[in-house]
Symmetry: C2
Subunit: 714 residues, 2 copies
């Protein structure tokens, strides 16, 4: 009876919470840990009776223990105690220094960050071992075990080992020091630079924890279009305060460095990378950075691209520039991430070929601690691009893969487009150099030990972090696929949906189906058949295929689609710019011929007449129209699928996602209308029979203006 009173009191306390304190606002991301079914709870309790570790715990080990206890408490309704005794049903966190007697493990196979999850009998007791060589490995293993618990894995028969295939798994924040975010669609920058280093708040730790849960181990805090001020003492102190918060979660701080900083901050007359004074300035700066952050990760650099300063300003090469910074960082173990996304004003050729032309000849010329960071495709994060021709073509240079998580060209945060399928498509693309992009990036194809994947973050101050609920899936997918580029997009979607929305199989699968088709729907509503860069100028919002008056030819949509009376598409075959020749012979051969080019890339590589006959039997014009129609239909279908999930998902997030899908349906029609209207003005062909004409005339679409579209940066 006394017990009953206690419960009564506790319940009263719980009910006394203000309504809405538990609002499903998405802030918890995929770490929601909602109670399992009764059977699931019983099963989980049986294998998590205590969390056992060797203590005294480092902050990282503390984070692992806390996560396990919090996760089990929430999932199973009972918080396991922490202890040192190997009780039956214990969760044992083991390292070589604290390995229970009898534990047999090939520790060396786990590397610095990997882990083993193993159900085993030790000293006569059935226990679960989470083993790793480091506390960070234990943290990763703890998250993995909780993931397995939520996926309904058989926790009594667990025997898994996981080691990250890529060494540097980095977010790239394009966040400015004034808290604007270039290509950010989730509010302002989460870095409150102004209040740092004094005020750190809880959100930075939440961020680090979320990253650790999916294996991300580094973050570049500031925009690649960098300000020199980010390297001044006040801003280094601010970055160091973040590094202090991140450290327990294994998340290293990196900074974007402005190449001309020696001039702007140091008062030097030059930033020439071969100038001894410049080299000395960077060495001293690196020393200063490492005094503030002893585990600083390194510099990310955008040089000689879109107006940024760089070594070419002094007649030097990218290798000269990167190696100068590498020399300054090397004594401290730091890395240079040198971006290959370059295109210069002077170059009148095919922009798609410029990075290859500049970088491929430099293969073997970079210092060992330089990674050349290459975007997934040769243009700029379009809904679909062929893989970048540099992958496989620089065997003596570590190439990092840069993906965009934020959806600059895929509908901002108002469209649902799961990018796991895009990442998968790139990673699995065969380079023709003997392996896939994944095998180049993870270093196995060409024997690289320094490996990296970077994702341009979609994180901001919005309560749900990413601007919409489903955009969280892209952060999640990036982290998981950087850890293991061989994970399938579907498997990752299943993990995410189960943790984020519903562990009920039918609901989860319905959500996954919706996700799996979503990127293709966006590609079809915007840029089908290999079309690209048809978006509005500057903000990249909405359709603007008609734009032809921007300063640089290669900023204009007309440069990319080349639609006219004679046909449509960019001829990159031998009859055109021939940048297809940058690919390895087996690939180049395939893509040089429209007949063997996949329809999804057709107009990327070829300029074809409107009456070109497609594999479907339709003319190119009819196929283009059909793709736009298919895109609209697919988006409508997503709306219907989501509506059917009502009741399977909490009402708050269900309503929110429905509202976003309604926006997407509206904008899909807008894209279709504007593009069909415009391309019809080029082709002068009638719409195929039965096709619904655009809602408005072309003049209407052309007149739309979006002066305050987000993501332009400060």
């Amino acid at each position: 009876m006394r017990m009953c009173r206690l419960w009564l009191w506790l319940t009263a306390l719980a009910l006394a919470m203000p309504l809405g304190a538990r609002a499903e606002d998405g802030h918890e991301l995929w770490l929601r840990y909602r109670p399992l079914s009764a059977a699931g709870q019983a099963g989980l309790r049986a294998v998590a009776r205590a969390v056992v570790h060797g203590g005294p715990a480092s902050p990282t080990l503390r984070a692992a223990v806390a996560e396990l206890r919090r996760g089990v408490a929430a999932l199973a309704g009972r918080e396991p105690p922490e202890g040192r005794r190997l009780v039956p049903g214990a969760l044992v966190l083991a390292t070589p220094e604290f390995a229970p007697a009898g534990l047999q493990l090939r520790w060396r196979d786990l590397g610095r960050e990997g882990y083993a999850l193993r159900r085993t009998r030790l000293q006569g007791r059935e226990v679960t071992v989470i083993a790793a060589n480091t506390d960070l490995g234990l943290l990763y293993g703890s998250f993995a075990w909780l993931r397995a618990a939520q996926a309904g894995a058989e926790l009594r028969r667990l025997d898994a080992t996981s080691v990250p295939k890529v060494g540097l798994r980095l977010l790239n924040h394009w966040d400015n020091l004034d808290r604007s975010v270039e290509r950010g669609y989730a509010g302002a920058s989460i870095w409150d630079w102004w209040k740092l280093p004094d005020i750190t708040g809880p959100r930075y730790a939440e961020y680090a924890r979320a990253n650790a849960s999916i294996g991300i181990n580094g973050t570049v805090l500031n925009n690649v279009n960098a300000k020199a001020e980010s390297l001044t003492a006040p801003f280094l102190a601010k970055a160091a305060a973040l590094a202090d918060v991140f450290r327990p979660y294994g998340l290293k701080v990196f900074l974007s460095a402005r190449f001309s900083a020696p001039v702007e901050l140091g008062g030097l007359k030059t930033a020439d990378p071969l100038d001894p004074a410049v080299r000395a300035w960077w060495r001293a700066k690196a020393d200063e950075v490492y005094r503030a952050m002893p585990d600083f990760g390194g510099f990310l650099v955008k040089a000689n691209s879109e107006g940024q300063p760089g070594p070419q300003d002094y007649g030097r090469t990218h290798a000269d520039g990167a190696n100068m910074l590498a020399e300054a960082l090397a004594p401290h173990g730091g890395v240079v991430l040198w971006r290959a996304f370059v295109y210069a004003h002077e170059n009148a050729g095919d922009r798609a070929g410029q990075a290859y032309a500049e970088f491929q000849p430099l293969d073997g010329r970079f210092a060992p601690n330089v990674v050349v960071q290459v975007k997934n495709g040769p243009i700029d994060f379009q809904p679909r691009e062929p893989f970048h021709p540099l992958f496989g073509a620089m065997p003596r240079t570590p190439l990092g893969l840069e993906l965009q998580i934020t959806k600059e060209y895929l509908g901002f945060s108002t469209h649902l487009a799961y990018l796991g399928t895009l990442f998968e498509e790139v990673l699995r693309a065969d380079t023709g150099h003997g392996g896939t992009v994944a095998r180049v990036v993870d270093g196995r194809l060409q024997g690289q030990r320094l490996t990296a994947m970077a994702g341009v973050a979609n994180i901001g101050t919005d309560r749900n972090w990413c601007g919409s609920q489903f955009d969280q899936a892209n952060w999640y997918a990036f982290g998981r696929m950087a850890w293991d580029p061989d994970l399938s997009a579907r498997a990752v979607a299943e993990e995410w949906a189960a943790q984020t929305f519903s562990a009920r199989r039918a609901a989860r699968d319905a959500i996954v189906e919706l996700m799996m088709g979503s990127r293709e729907a966006v590609a079809d509503t915007m840029t089908p058949l290999g079309l690209h860069h048809l978006m509005g100028s500057g903000h990249h919002y909405g359709p603007a295929p008609w734009v032809d008056d921007l300063e640089r030819p290669d900023w204009n949509p007309v440069y990319y689609h080349r639609a006219g009376r004679d046909g449509i598409g960019f001829d990159r075959s031998p009859t055109g710019s021939n940048t297809v020749a940058q690919y390895a012979a087996p690939v180049a051969r395939l893509w040089a011929d429209p007949r063997t080019t996949p329809p999804a890339l057709l107009l990327w590589f070829h300029h074809l007449p409107w009456d070109y006959r497609m594999p479907s039997g339709r003319t190119l014009w009819a196929e283009l129209v059909a793709r736009y129609d298919a895109g609209v239909a697919a988006v409508d279908d997503m709306g219907r699928r989501w509506a059917a999930l009502r009741g399977e998902v909490d009402g708050e997030r269900h309503a929110e996602v429905a509202a976003y899908l309604a926006v997407q349906a509206k904008e899909a029609r807008w894209w279709r209308g504007a593009c069909l209207g415009y391309f019809q003005s080029a082709s002068s062909l009638p719409l195929p029979p039965g096709v619904r004409p655009p809602e408005h005339d072309l003049a209407f679409y052309k007149a739309l203006r979006f002066p305050f579209a987000p993501g332009r940066g400060g």
Copy 2:
């Protein structure tokens, strides 16, 4: 036993919540409704057994009922049911249309927004009546009753009536359409213009509810430095979506209007307010606005000030401009709020006198639906200013009072400065025209029926809304004192602290003491003795008394302090600019003579030699030094007082406030050091004996730069 199992299950559910779901992050503001003491709970339950109303409920009445039920549930641990029967202990929401038989009330006295709270016996049952003429009055009354419940009022002897003394109680958001906020220190704008009108999320309703809880009934969405685009159809649709969310809470939408919009949007050649085409354009625009928002409040206008366009561009007066807009709004019942904060480049005189010079002669020339909105002081929201000389000087014109809630000049959101005392000082100032500023603003002194108070909001995307916990108090105080300008700052602080931090009397009182001295501490650390505008250029952060090179003379701190070998201060007495003469004779006489000027305003009105003898017996120089020292000591004392509250306040917010107070302590020393260093360079006098010298030399302070200080706007 079965009951016990139910409790068990409920408790398990509660415990299964992820840790941190109930984080004390300040998001709940003063509406936290934490459980009362056992005695308090019993008492509250007895007077809130049911919520009785006449239904069917309007959205506003629904909000009132929901608030009462939610509040009682959280405070007393039991949610009262909703019903129609007059049960004993009921909370009865009564209007003239639904008044229980036997209820005697002077309904007319309650006006449109007022309410009565009365414990009474009706039909043989003891009940509590919340009575009002409108559902909005019921909502205000419900919040007031919950406030009383939390303040420990004797709910069984309640008999109170409250009617707002000011008609328009408005927030002014200086929010830009790109989500930057001019003078915003709490993250980005909460208006996600980009996603509106489709996506409205929960935060807008939370905002409206918070405003209703303190009686704010209107909000100007966009910056007074307005963009014409805010009046285009897409942005009106966005504003209308917000208005729809706000409506149940009695919160009306207003917009800042750019005077030149007829040129920029309408393609007219002029915005001359006497031009018939211009007048027609505004009439059509007003019609369009009201089609989108039938209860739209009106336009706020900053004209011919700091570069904004206005009627003077066409040789017309402020009255001409305001009346043109008033004419367009009048048919719809809308109001023009025309700001008196003007100063023009051409005017070389004392900036403090310019608004009076331009506006006072226009008294009686404004249309009846125009309010001239006057800042509290003649310069610009300084830590201390004398009240604005226009108050009382325009008896035939409704004058609204504009206060700044955001702390542009009082330490941004990193300093603790409770502004209730500043508001009180202004409201209680005797204008010399027969009454206080409060009596001018509430219309009683000069018989105005149109009355207004505006507060420049400090709200942003930060989780705690205002950038720091204590800045919430300034939003609260503005609302409460706009409802009743006669409320004391202390009473308001008590209400706020009890609801926000602790209802325990000792803790509450300690917090209130800390608040009550806080604004004076800031005034002392920054601008003691009537000094003003010594802040850094543009961003207004930190000390910069040495700045003398800005484009306009009256942007330079040296213009305001005039420190030199001969003394310090701005002579506004008859021997100087004589703007003191703009005040009514009794006030002007007092302030014209340094001997009868309060020390806190001394250097505002007088330029005095360094050896001027102060009432304290010290020389002016020694007094100035002493004030800076007192400021630093007061800030240190605040830190100590707060530290002593550890355990009385949840750990999260206690630690957060402590971190902010540490920043403030650091910056107080910086202000003291920079100002003493600089003024010593002017006075050439030694520091008085025993005074600690500044930490750094003047050159150090002068060299500090803050390139990314917040609040500059987009």
